[in-house]
């Protein structure tokens, strides 16, 4: 239930008022199946461009992207994006939002009910199945779009700043949920974040980007064992990694 993702000499430029603006330099990297891989960098460094390329929303200017050794040419429920921007549909209740994903990927009607309750449970909003997004808190909305993505059993989750804008405490507790769910569902995760600590705490490897145009600064292995516990953040070895990665960010 997981897939490997690889980028080969990928670059992307956008035409802005007639001028080609490079957003992404020449990038190559591989994410192994089942890995928690994080792309870290300041805003505007092309992180979201990478996610949109892997998702298949946009095509690279040069190079190619492969998922499971097949070239990515269009979006697919095998690679689902989880992002605040690609939010829940405001006209659908929580369970209707999840059901949309099931209908879209042709999952048989009779399985819908069980799948919906399984994933609303997993993300912890089972009691809000009939609530509409405007009735949910900001954290619960993030949980809902995670449930919607998980419901189609994607091989790869593309999480673009999934916890951006939440307060620190909520962020910590949702990081725990993300780790737990990743452990249960065994999907490949490509996470984009600008939060150094979040990247270190969650990931197997962290790719640090430098901006204008986005290129790879370095890729660092994060050797902390699993399961990880919140107090890991306070250990000296965590702080040492923090200093090291911080060095690449500035």
């Amino acid at each position: 239930m997981a897939t490997d993702i690889s980028l080969h000499n990928v670059s992307k430029s956008y035409k802005i008022s007639g001028k080609e603006m490079p957003a992404l330099g020449n990038i190559s990297f591989t994410v192994s199946a089942g890995e928690f891989f994080t792309i870290l960098g300041p805003s505007g460094c092309g992180k979201s461009t990478i996610i949109n390329l892997i998702a298949g929303f946009i095509t690279p200017s040069t190079g190619e992207i492969k998922a499971n050794n097949k070239v990515v040419i269009q979006p697919s429920p095998e690679r689902v994006i989880v992002s605040h921007e690609y939010g829940a549909f405001p006209w659908k209740s929580a369970q209707e939002n999840v059901e949309f994903a099931l209908k879209a990927s042709n999952i048989p009607q009779e399985e819908h009910k069980n799948i919906i309750s399984k994933y609303l449970n997993m993300v912890g909003i089972a009691g809000f199945a009939n609530s509409y997004p405007f009735q949910l808190s900001s954290g619960m909305k993030r949980r809902l779009i995670l449930a919607r993505a998980l419901a189609v059993k994607p091989e790869c989750l593309l999480m673009d700043e999934p916890l951006v804008g939440l307060d620190t405490q909520l962020r910590y507790s949702m990081q725990e949920d993300v780790l737990r769910i990743w452990g249960e569902e065994k999907t490949t995760v490509v996470l984009v974040t600008h939060d150094l600590e979040e990247a270190l705490y969650l990931s197997d490897r962290v790719l640090v980007m430098s901006p204008h145009p986005g290129t790879i600064r370095t890729i660092i292995d994060i050797p902390f064992g699993r399961p990880r516990v919140p107090s890991l953040r306070l250990t000296d070895v965590f702080q040492a990694y923090r200093r090291e990665v911080f060095g690449f960010l500035i």
Partner: protein, 261 residues
């Protein structure tokens, strides 16, 4: 306590409104009784009530009312179907939309009333030409609002659909239409207003019954009471239709209204 307070506020507002309304009626009646106004031009409330009873009892009122409602229902229904279908298709397939919409924009600038002579030439006097005018009048606001609602569907919502592998039918039924629904309903509410205006206008020249026909006919007969009673009826029905649609709008667009609180 807060709740009680707003309830009693609402009640006193209602009482105040009724009070002002009855005082105005009373002053109007007094002015007529003391011959301050000419009752031939502006009959007092008492004779309007008498006239209303006469029209209701004789059956003129219901036959005119039903005539107008029949035309407006038919014309409006056709307009909703055409407006929603064309607005959705031209909004969704933007290349065709870009070619056709400028032409429709010019047609839209011709008031429905200006079509009456041509409609009579094409369809003759009677229901057909009246329904044509109503359809035309209601079509444009419904079409324009549906079109712009469909055009303004969020790219992120559409991409979410593509990401999960949704086919075009599902994208239209579950993303585009519900997302455009608040604007579409606004178009329908404006459309029912123009449909009502159009039915009255077209009946004044083209039909043998209807509320528009009634006010025109009674003007010729110098029956000011009947003119005003029918006018009031036109106002009440128009207001009712608007209120009903507003109510439906609140029901269906609740998620949209909540977002913008």
């Amino acid at each position: 306590m807060q709740h009680n307070n707003s309830n009693s506020n609402r009640l006193s507002l209602l009482l105040l409104r009724c009070g002002v309304f009855f005082i105005l009626l009373f002053l109007w009646q007094i002015a007529a009784n003391f011959k301050i106004i000419n009752v031939n031009f502006l009959p007092p409330p008492s004779s309007l009530v008498k006239e209303f009873y006469y029209l209701a009892k004789s059956g003129y009122l219901s036959s005119n009312l039903l005539g107008s409602l029949y035309r407006v229902t038919l014309g409006f229904t056709i307009a909703v179907c055409l407006g929603v279908i064309l607005g959705t298709l031209l909004g969704y397939f933007s290349k065709i939309g870009n070619v056709i919409v400028p032409v429709l924009d010019i047609l839209r600038s011709i008031p429905p009333i200006a079509w009456i002579p041509l409609a009579i030439l094409w369809f003759g006097l009677g229901n057909s030409s009246s329904i044509f005018i109503i359809t035309l009048g209601a079509f444009f606001p419904i079409f324009v609002n549906t079109f712009s609602g469909v055009r303004s569907v969020s790219r992120f919502h559409l991409d979410t659909g593509r990401c999960f592998g949704a086919n075009q039918a599902l994208i239209i039924s579950d993303i585009i239409l519900p997302s455009a629904m608040p604007q579409l309903l606004t178009g329908i509410r404006i459309g029912i207003g123009t449909a009502w205006t159009s039915v009255i206008a077209s009946e004044m020249v083209g039909t043998r019954n209807g509320l528009g026909y009634a006010i025109q006919l009674n003007r010729i007969m110098l029956d000011t009471d009947a003119v005003i009673v029918n006018m009031i009826l036109i106002g009440v029905i128009g207001w009712l239709m608007n209120t009903i649609i507003l109510h439906i709008e609140k029901r269906i667009s609740f998620w949209y209204l909540q977002q913008n609180v």
